[in-house]
Subunit: 342 residues, 2 copies
């Protein structure tokens, strides 16, 4: 029993009126008589009429869709961001179109173009790790599409941005370890080319200095891949090298977990012998044994803030106001769990 897809014209034809009357009737326009409105609404209901928003978008030059491009989706952080964005978008009556760049700059370019082709009313984007050229971003910004970058942002373009305070997060993590009595804190650092790595490293160093603990470069150990096996391997070799330490601040949770597994395997106790704090607070972290302390980067918050900023911008552009890009820094929270409490 397949129904057709009805249009206003169909309703108009059946009632012997014009489609403009139908349009106004459905919108409860005062010009239309109650009688006509009732008839139109009744028939629309019967036909299960639903408006074609493509036509609307074309007419109004407004699609009520915002786009979001993320490098990955199987990732708690980005999934949370999307979730936050969605909640704001729903409230504003917008739909969300999602593209996944898969960490590929080429895909990212294609995605941005597709988003523009669909005439999204605004775009949220977190760059791939490899993105160097920003022509595609400039192009869409020049066309007047409101754009907000989040988390993985670029300094080379003047748009609104929402980032987390990596420095502050690292500072809190390290400071917490010191407060727990740690004197020699290892930092498992991330890849050099990402600014978040250096920010976290600096936060670590600053926290030590503020606590009058000298920074020892031997305690700063690179784990650029950020994989479990790398961390496990690295940690084992550190332990075997007899380096003395009593705490670990890892660049991310996976690294922390790898380190923790290595420690346990070699008979070290967490947190009694070594306290550990990670970064990112993946969902799994609280499920570990012992549960891992971590810096919570609230993806939801970032999503919400980014979306809010985007809608603010969309509204100002609609009113032809000048919009000056803003950078919003979202603070992180330290989630204290057993892995760091002595």
């Amino acid at each position: 029993m397949r129904k057709a897809q009805y249009t206003m014209q169909d309703i108009a034809n059946q009632l012997g009126i014009s489609k403009s009357t139908v349009s106004r009737a459905l919108k409860n326009h005062p010009d239309i008589s109650q009688e006509t409105k009732d008839a139109v609404n009744k028939l629309a209901e019967e036909m299960d009429y639903q408006p074609n928003s493509l036509a609307l978008s074309l007419r109004h030059k407004k699609s009520f869709v915002i786009g979001i491009i993320v490098p990955e989706i199987v990732h708690d952080f980005f999934a949370n961001v999307i979730s936050g964005v969605q909640s704001v978008a729903y409230e504003e009556g917008y739909n969300v179109m999602i593209c996944i760049s898969n960490e590929s700059p080429e895909q990212e370019e294609v995605d941005v173009k597709a988003m523009y082709s669909s005439r999204v009313d605004g775009l949220l984007i977190s760059l791939t790790k490899e993105t160097k050229k920003l022509k595609h971003i400039e192009s869409i910004v020049n066309k007047g599409v409101p754009l907000v970058m989040f988390d993985r942002v670029s300094e080379n373009i003047n748009v609104s941005k929402v980032i987390t305070d990596d420095f502050q997060g690292a500072f809190m993590a390290t400071d917490h370890l010191v407060k727990q009595g740690c004197k020699k804190i290892v930092h498992l650092s991330g890849p050099d080319n990402l600014s978040i790595s250096s920010l976290r490293l600096n936060g670590y160093k600053d926290a030590l200095s503020k606590n009058n603990i000298p920074v020892d470069d031997n305690l700063i150990i690179p784990c650029p891949e950020g994989t479990l096996s790398e961390a496990t391997k690295t940690m084992k070799s550190i332990i075997n090298s007899n380096l003395e330490f009593d705490g670990i601040f890892a660049n991310n949770d996976v690294t922390a977990i790898g380190a923790m597994n290595a420690l346990k395997e070699l008979g070290k106790k967490v947190p009694e012998d070594i306290s550990i704090v990670g970064f990112g607070d993946w969902r799994l972290s609280q499920l570990l044994d012992p549960p891992l302390s971590s810096i919570e980067q609230s993806g939801i918050n970032i999503g919400v803030e980014s979306a809010k900023l985007l809608f603010k911008q969309i509204k100002e552009e609609e009113n032809d106001k000048e919009f000056t890009p803003i950078t919003k820094v979202v603070q992180n929270n330290l989630i204290e769990r057993k892995s760091s409490i002595k």
Copy 2:
């Protein structure tokens, strides 16, 4: 330096030709002279012209967008499904619009309507846990929109479906435990109202029977919430009740982890004393200590299969062929890790 949004008419005006010529020139239509084509292409490039796909969609009654509605996105399984869907969609030249119903049937209804309003060319959907009425689904199906349900499907509607073989997965998990020498296997079961719970329970029972082990109802312990705390609490009370058992097959990974943590806390060794297998193979499972054996429900596969089925249907409808709904069952894999290997 804000550029405007140019249309074909703008190009036509600048070159003193008509927009139909521009349209054909850009599509490399044979009717147009090379000279004109070159001029058009050059100007289009300069203006950074990008077509408005809303207009295209309206004209062709085809949006080149497919929709997907998931109950959650901060969830490895659904994130993987989306990822699989995206990859197929990209190949087909389609964009993906995602809605998150947040386990709310009301939201789901709104989402389906929004998808139809946007005139998606097809829709993928996994129902919320609470969805009872299917009017919204029937409505969009009746309008001729190809639709495929995945994972959380309903038996009360005749559409294509992609599901995992929960029975088979549970069977494999249980059989594996038996092969490892377990004689008394506890099943931590899921909520009664979901068919996946009963399928998994039946798989468990069947595996025992096939191995000539009697099913003992005392060993079937409900963990309907599927939360960590519930599982931990439940497991502790079981141990304290002195119930004898040497293996656990949990309805999902979180439950398995909760149980594992409880066991370790009460001095039981995994896998030596008790072997454990979970279900779902969350990303975290391999990071645990010991890594958790689990049934991998390949979200990516389900996404890929669902999308393929959808595109098949889209193509057949385009050719006015009759399409008979298909149900595709995707097999699960047992991922053997330390938690179950004696």
